[in-house]
């Protein structure tokens, strides 16, 4: 039908588009007009070209680089596998039918060749784990890699066991290949056969003499490898076989998820705080893992992708937990009722209700449980819209080793993923707590729930960034206000402290008034005239520096005084003037003069007295009151006694010495 249309309609269009007619003609030169969509061929030639290319591709498998780029393309955007979506719906069926026919034809061809070759294969394989050249030629790099991997693993095993395992797996793989290629088996039958192989192999491992010397752990990994080997080798034939409706279901799910893209996290009762950039990073990683699942071939690798994705979902929930912990609400009383009817009251009109997305906070203090996990996983599936999800799930169910899905976390997460897909497939207005009217409106795209807008589901990256920036800004503003408040507080504190301090200072000043004494004029005894005051008359006459000769008899002086001394002053206090007793005039002077720093004067006195003592030992003192004051002589002697020991300029002020204890 396509060819007919193109032939009849093209000639009229040519000149209008300003393209030379020669460019519009089919590249092969068959005379018909070509089409850009068919790479410049006319429909008929394109069909031939397409066929050739397909065969070419199958024979010399896809180059690794294109494989990688295909994978990248898939992870980049969920729609990339179905990129030409608008026109696809119109052309899906014929095209798939077409390619499927080709596949069948090819299988038949292959069957014939394998049948011939199987004649030669009957002889036992010569070396352990040496794949034949035939395989290398006909297989895709993935399948080839599976052989290489098995080969490598088998080399770690005892030779006997490796040999048995290899020959068993080869035979089984060939048998399975032929069976599947014949196309008579339903997927369930194929799955049963594969499981049969697993079981037989398992039993063989336990009973066969060839495997006796294997440890249980290496047995397990051998089983694991055999599973990987079989599924990878025959991936193209096992995955989404032509005689089932997996492909249609895939497309249906894909379309369904796309039409549900207005659903936001709060609507699912899912506590993902999407405005947090960290959470969004993890969300994107989780989505990538989920999409990557399609690129994996062995069931265990697909399961590993699911597990990784689920782990990230938990991480994301944990992070969201902590980030909206502050807006948590006590929800215990709500628990008694079902969770329905709490969500979904937001529509485009409810723009005011910005602060609290409904039910975005559910019992935050709990560890992440299934109640939180499933909605989050559903949301991830919704956002990821993983390619060929249905086929992938079916592939895992059909060809994973039975224990894998029954025990272990892989099985649990796989089940959850199945639940998520099933939930999305059967989603109704009830399951979101919306009225059917609202639901229809959202589904038809007439309106968008506000929460979706806010969560950035529907909006462009730029708008999402804007929301994120807005939240950052408001956070900053909040911090700024806080800071300002704290500054004010600090200022107040400082002021009150200042006031308090000055008050205290004033009080102290009042309690202890300052008495300012006039500055004491330094008295220079040398210049004081005796007639100036009576007290000065009491002072001894100025003493002149007196050189003490080494032969000058000091010890006699001490000896002569000591009997006088000893009963009055303890020896330790010898340096000190006895403050406890009424000081002599001279001492009073010394004490007063100290404050003026007149140590020199003191020295002077001391020397003075010394000279007095020295010169007038035994003679009556020339001071009038020497007799009245019995201590004057004492102090004199004390000072005099010390002088010879201490150099003159080092004498410490006597007033600072502690007074004698008695």
């Amino acid at each position: 039908m396509e060819s007919g249309g193109s032939r009849s309609s093209r000639p009229g269009h040519g000149p209008k588009l300003h393209i030379p007619q020669s460019d519009l003609i089919c590249k092969t030169g068959c005379g018909f007009f070509g089409n850009i969509a068919w790479q410049g061929y006319c429909s008929k030639c394109y069909k031939e070209y397409f066929l050739q290319r397909q065969q070419h591709q199958d024979a010399f498998a896809v180059s690794p680089s294109s494989l990688i780029s295909r994978k990248v393309e898939r992870s980049m955007s969920d729609a990339s596998t179905f990129f030409n979506k608008p026109e696809q719906h119109s052309s899906t069926l014929p095209r798939h039918g077409f390619s499927r026919f080709e596949e069948k034809k090819r299988h038949n061809q292959e069957m014939r060749t394998t049948a011939v070759k199987s004649l030669f294969r009957k002889t036992p394989t010569k070396g352990v784990g040496s794949p034949k050249a035939r395989d290398r030629r006909a297989l895709s790099p993935e399948s080839h890699a599976s052989i290489v991997e098995l080969d490598q693993f088998l080399q770690t095993l005892p030779q006997n066991a490796a040999h048995h395992a290899y020959s068993f797996l080869r035979v089984q793989a060939d048998k399975l290949d032929r069976l599947v290629s014949s196309g008579v088996l339903t997927p369930i039958e194929i799955s049963d056969r594969v499981h049969n192989i697993y079981q037989v192999f398992d039993e063989k491992l336990k009973t066969h003499s060839g495997f006796l010397d294997m440890t249980s752990s290496s047995m397990e990994s051998l089983l694991d490898h055999s599973e990987r080997y079989l599924t990878r080798l025959l991936y193209k034939k096992l995955f989404c076989p032509p005689n089932c409706d997996d492909e249609e279901r895939d497309l249906a799910v894909q379309k369904r998820i796309r039409s549900l893209n207005w659903i936001s996290a709060p609507l699912l009762d899912c506590r993902i705080n999407e405005l947090d950039s960290k959470v969004r990073d993890i969300l994107e990683k989780a989505i990538t893992h989920l999409i990557e699942m399609d690129g994996q071939r062995a069931p265990q690798d697909k399961l590993a992708s699911i597990i990784n994705c689920s782990k990230l979902v938990f991480e994301m929930l944990g992070l969201s937990n902590s980030s909206n912990a502050h807006q948590s609400k006590a929800r215990t009383e709500e628990c008694n009722n079902s969770d329905q009817g709490q969500t979904g009251e937001l529509t485009v009109n409810d723009v005011n209700d910005k602060e609290e997305p409904p039910s975005s906070t559910v019992h935050n203090s709990q560890p992440v449980s299934a109640d939180d996990f499933l909605p989050a996983l559903i949301y991830v599936v919704l956002r990821a819209n993983p390619p060929r999800i249905h086929s992938n799930l079916n592939f895992i169910t059909r060809f994973a080793a039975p224990g894998r899905l029954l025990q272990g976390e892989g099985g649990y997460y796989f089940t959850n993923l199945c639940c998520a897909v099933s939930f999305l497939e059967n989603l109704t207005s009830d399951s979101l707590g919306l009225s059917s009217d609202e639901f229809d409106r959202y589904m038809s795209g007439k309106s968008i729930p506000f929460a979706s807008l806010q969560a950035g589901v529907m909006v462009s990256e730029g708008l999402r960034l804007m929301y994120q920036n807005m939240s950052t800004l408001s956070e900053l503003r909040h911090k700024q206000i806080n800071l300002q408040q704290q500054i004010l507080e600090l200022k107040n504190d400082m002021e009150s402290f200042n006031e308090c301090m000055s008050k205290e200072v004033v009080e102290c000043l009042q309690m202890f008034p300052v008495q300012i004494r006039g500055k004491r004029a330094p008295i220079k005894p040398d210049e004081v005239q005796p007639e100036e005051s009576d007290t000065l008359k009491l002072l001894p006459p100025p003493l002149l520096p007196h050189k003490i000769n080494s032969e000058s008899p000091l010890p006699p002086l001490v000896e002569s005084i000591s009997p006088n001394l000893e009963h009055l002053v303890p020896a330790s206090a010898a340096v000190v003037a006895p403050v406890g007793q009424p000081p002599s005039h001279k001492q009073a002077r010394v004490a007063d003069n100290q404050q003026d720093g007149s140590i020199q004067e003191l020295d002077l006195f001391a020397l003075n007295e010394l000279s007095i003592n020295c010169s007038s030992s035994g003679e009556p003192n020339n001071l009038e009151n020497a007799d009245d004051d019995p201590f004057s002589s004492l102090s004199l002697t004390v000072q005099g006694r010390i002088i010879p020991c201490i150099p003159c300029d080092n004498i410490s002020p006597t007033g600072q010495q502690p007074p004698p204890t008695n």
Partner: protein
Amino acid sequence: MSRNFGSNLGQLHFKIVLLGEGCVGKTSLVLRYVEDKFHEKHFSTIQASFLTKKINLEGQRVTLAIWDTAGQERFHALGPIYYRDSHAAILVYDITDQDSFVKVQNWVKELKRILGDKVILAIVGNKTDLDKERNVPADEASEYARSVGATHYQTSAKTNRGIEELFLDVTQQLLRVAESQNQLNSSANPTSNRNQEVVIVDDNPAPKKSCCG
């Protein structure tokens, strides 16, 4: 055999599914059992939806895989996907909440319908520490449990009462079933007849393929 009680390298694996309404304490219950923790307030990142516990009972090594399920009403329809192939189901209700007990009764009906009589059922009244707010009488619950062939337990995840006993008892029942199953298996050769193809509930039958080209 969809429910495979067979041992794998001398070790028994059992799948136990936890059912019950949200907030009845399923998660706390299993966390208390597996990790002996009760999270009343503090925040924790650990996940509590799939936990395994290895125990040694009667000289047999047993691994329990405990599957938590989402309790929200909207996910009720997904139940069969969860409890498919499970060996035992623990149905939890809140003794202060009559509705949660009604939910348990619905679950029991559903389980019986889909898994048959062979599944081991345990009906658990949680939160016995809130005994003075009790709304579900203990006799009524145990009477009901007896009538459906289930065992009734009373637990408190908060005060750690009755939880160890609950899981131990369930495991013992599982072991008994496994033994009788093994005897059956040894007399009659087990055929691997897997009926677990349907992952996603399939409403429309596969359309017949037509050859085009």
